[in-house]
């Protein structure tokens, strides 16, 4: 069981995390906007996460923390 958490205030909606996720579970939210005005990245099916930390490695803004 792995868990990723997003520091949503830092997210800039660039989508680089989406491109590297091997399980394709990250998406850009269609409803949640942060204080900078960006639609934030989110994981809807957390139980599919394998904790590879590819998303966190790729994120240029250190938004993602991964626990495994």
């Amino acid at each position: 069981m792995a868990k990723v958490s997003f520091n949503k205030a830092f997210c800039k909606s660039c989508g680089l995390c989406i491109g590297v996720c091997p399980k394709h579970i990250i998406s850009i939210s269609e409803s949640e906007i942060n204080s900078k005005g960006y639609f934030v990245a989110e994981v809807l099916e957390m139980d599919k996460c394998i904790g590879c930390a590819f998303c966190a490695t790729m994120c240029p803004d250190c938004v993602i923390e991964v626990e495994k």
């Binding site: 966190a56 490695t57 790729m58 240029p60 993602i64 923390e65 626990e67 495994k68």
Partner: protein, 248 residues
Amino acid sequence: MAIVFEKPKMLTDKPTHYCPGCTHGLAHILTAKAIDKLNAKKVIGVAPVGCAVFAYEYFNCDMQEAAHGRAPAVATGIKRVIPDAIVFAYQGDGDLASIGMAEIVHAAARGENITVIFVNNAIYGMTGGQMAPTTMIGQKATTCQSGRDVALNGYPIHVSEMLSQLQGPCYIERVACYDVKHIKQAQKAIDKAFQNQVEGRGFSMIEILATCPTNWGMSPQDSLKYVEDVMCKVYPLGVYKDTTKEEA
């Protein structure tokens, strides 16, 4: 559950001002992680002029802002006065390869015991996407709108290749961060560059091929693809100089 990935201690909690998808952030993280591993008592960074001008806000150590292009000269001064400190210069391509060309060449030739992180995105990012010395032939920029023309603008400068011809530098490598594998390779290169400084081996420079989605006019994803397909062909990745191997 154990934490697999978290923010490096060497970065402050300030959100960066970089555009979405800009790999300057990755370069910051890789540098910060490398410094974290050293457990150094004193770390002093030198910030450039360019997109990374506010690097002093993001690194959780003493920082000095240098005049445009003069970061290696300032780093030289700091390192000579405080030899125990870990000193690094963080520069972009407009800063290092254009106005700061003299400083980087002479710092490298003197073999100063500093680490230089050189972020090459082949364009002037902060000022609005003008042609830089590293802009590739045929690449469009606001000051060469039909692509860089050799007859008019000459050839791009390959900084790593050029500096590796000097006798002074200890370690010069070009890395990219367009996927996870290459980010890990970049991390190893930057770790080694800082380790060289700790061991007093002399000048190390890591050139990171970075993206500029805003001024390239691409999405962040397409920019990464552009680095992989186009930039890596013009600027081949690899170790250009490594005197640590020759000694062994």
